[in-house]
């Protein structure tokens, strides 16, 4: 009896997960590069686990910090076979981190990296901030729509210096609009804390 209950529970659970995955559009509509769904699914889950990205720095691939690389658990479980042949561990990592995303579907890592790059490019600080720069920090809450438009900007944590806070808002406004969400972000709107 107990065994039956377990079996039924497992089957129901499988259906439940399939339903959830389908609803959230986690599985792609097509194979973008001929690689297996399991690989793609693994990538999606891995990317989603790092919603709160650590600050970029040295030691990471393509501007990502070492913490991200260390954080991708189960990366060595990725199937190493494709239709073209074997892919290396490094290629798999590159794939996960969004290398070559210009040609393929942008992944969440490269998507946020692109937002970061665009904001950095537009961030010009007033001369009077130079000396205080290291002691100032502010966080802007950015509400974004699926098509990449910025819907709302709010100062979540002020630096206490108006010119600094406004320079951060200016940088985001100038950088907007951003690219539409990649399919790994199955939302109509998201909120991003941008820390300056």
């Amino acid at each position: 009896m107990t065994l039956h209950i377990y079996t039924i529970s497992i089957i129901l659970s499988l259906f439940f997960h399939l339903f959830i995955f389908k609803t959230l559009k986690i599985f792609p509509e097509h194979k973008p590069d001929g690689r297996g769904y399991s690989f793609y699914g693994e990538r999606v889950i891995t990317a989603s686990l790092f919603r709160v990205l650590p600050p970029s720095g040295s030691g990471g691939k393509k501007g990502f910090s070492g913490e991200v690389l260390k954080g991708i658990k189960g990366i060595n479980k990725i199937p190493a076979k494709s239709e073209e042949g074997t892919i290396s561990f490094e290629e798999a990592i590159s794939e996960l981190l969004g290398e070559g995303s210009e040609e393929g579907i942008p992944y969440s890592f490269s998507y946020f990296e692109e937002i970061k790059r665009k904001i950095m490019k537009e961030w010009n600080l007033p001369e009077g901030m130079k000396e205080q720069l290291k002691s100032l920090k502010c966080t802007i809450l950015m509400k974004m729509r699926r098509d990449g438009e910025v819907l709302e900007l709010k100062i979540l944590r002020s630096s206490g210096n108006e010119l600094y806070d406004l320079s951060a808002i200016r940088a985001i406004k100038k950088a907007a609009p951003f690219s539409p969400f990649p399919m790994v972000i199955p939302k109509e709107e998201i909120e991003i804390e941008v820390e300056f």
Partner: protein, 383 residues
């Protein structure tokens, strides 16, 4: 299974994402400026360009859009901040003295956060007519005016932040006199006999520190201007000179030969103790405080014979060189409202006045004369 269920819940949660923007590489603010008056643009643009805080030719979106409308008697200015968070508008009367500078000051304050830049002035010593006399000029190195005609040698120039008073030592015929120039009146300030130089007044105006001789040794003397009594401020067996009050009046920076060579020290007037500041060089002179008292600038002699400007950061207790490899760089003087420093240098032959910032990344030559310019003091514009 539980992990999968957790993942699914995680995927559908409303958690926020986070991006951290690293410290930027410094680039000028992008500014669009327009006016209905070409004359106004031709006057204000060179001032704003001089600062190097702004870029006017660029592609893409501007950080600020400035519109200046001139009418018969007034100029109205609108500053649009791309953030949408701040919009400044102000009106200035035309044809009043320095109205373009005042207008530029306001633009710089609203956009770059620096006060009184264009209405600031320099006081300096020049040997243009074979004597060493006191002159003043604007931030662009123009509008030069003579302040003294004493026909002698002026040195040891000090001033209040807005140059409400300027003190200097006048040497003539083997004698030295300390003069004070206040509200366009010049008077001998310290009347005690004997050699004296380098007067600095406390911010409250009650005390003066200067160098005088005691038993043949130069010493820092403190004079209570209310009672008229003088005493030795710092007791040490070594010669001590060049005392300067900090902006809050609680400290006095000076040069002491206690280590065997001139070094910069700071005396705490409350704790009554001194701390050595300069270690990187064996011969340092000319201390000068930043407007907020956070930094001290001074000149040090290098082993190769060059003189360079050093900055001491009181917060981080660090000392760093901001000029280098270019002959003598002397007499640093902070801009009272910011991180800029004026100094004199003979890097192109004769001594000229330059400005830089506390990182030594920005450099502008202000004077281009055949004479020598020494002992520059940067005075803030009157607020």
């Amino acid at each position: 299974m539980k992990v999968f269920v957790f993942l699914c819940l995680f995927l559908s949660s409303e958690e926020r994402w986070k991006i951290v923007i690293p410290e930027p590489t410094w680039t000028p603010l992008k500014v669009k400026i327009e006016s209905n008056s070409r004359e106004m643009l031709s006057e204000i643009l060179p001032l704003l360009q001089f600062t190097e805080f702004y870029e006017f030719n660029f592609e893409g979106k501007a950080d600020f859009e400035i519109t200046i409308k001139t009418e018969e008697k007034n100029a109205s200015v609108e500053i649009e901040d791309f953030s949408g968070g701040k919009r400044a508008s102000f009106v200035y009367e035309l044809n009043v003295p320095y109205f373009v500078e005042k207008l530029a000051d306001r633009i710089v304050e609203e956009t770059a956060g620096i006060k009184g830049y264009f209405t600031s002035r320099f006081v300096f010593v020049s040997d243009v007519d074979r004597y060493k006399e006191l002159f003043t000029m604007d931030i662009m190195g123009k509008k030069v005016e003579r302040l003294t005609d004493l026909k002698g040698k002026i040195l040891g120039v000090r001033a209040e932040q807005e140059c409400k008073w300027i003190s200097f030592t006048f040497l003539t015929g083997g004698h030295s006199e300390i003069y004070l120039l206040k509200e366009e009146k010049l008077e001998k300030f310290i009347t005690e006999p004997g050699f004296k130089t380098g007067l600095s007044l406390s911010p409250d105006g009650f005390f003066a520190v200067y160098t005088g001789l005691k038993n043949g040794e130069p010493k820092i003397l403190l004079k209570d201007l209310r009672s008229g009594k003088s005493s030795i401020l710092i007791s040490s067996p070594a010669p001590e000179v060049s005392a300067v009050f900090s902006p809050d009046g609680k400290k006095v920076a000076y040069v002491s030969e206690r280590p065997g060579v001139p070094a910069i020290y700071v005396f705490d007037t409350e704790k009554k103790n001194s701390e050595r500041i300069s270690y990187k060089s064996n011969y340092c002179t000319s201390p000068n405080w930043s407007g907020d008292g956070a930094f001290l600038a001074y000149t040090c002699l290098e082993p190769n014979g060059e003189m360079n400007i050093y900055i001491y950061d009181f917060k981080n207790k660090t000392e760093r060189k901001i000029t280098g490899g270019t002959r003598s760089n002397e007499s640093p003087s902070f801009y009272p409202h910011g991180n800029f420093i004026a100094f004199t240098s003979n890097r192109t032959g004769n001594y000229e006045i330059y400005i830089t910032d506390i990182w030594g990344k920005f450099l502008k030559k202000l004077t281009h004369s055949p004479s020598n310019e020494y002992e520059v003091v940067w005075c803030a514009g009157k607020q």
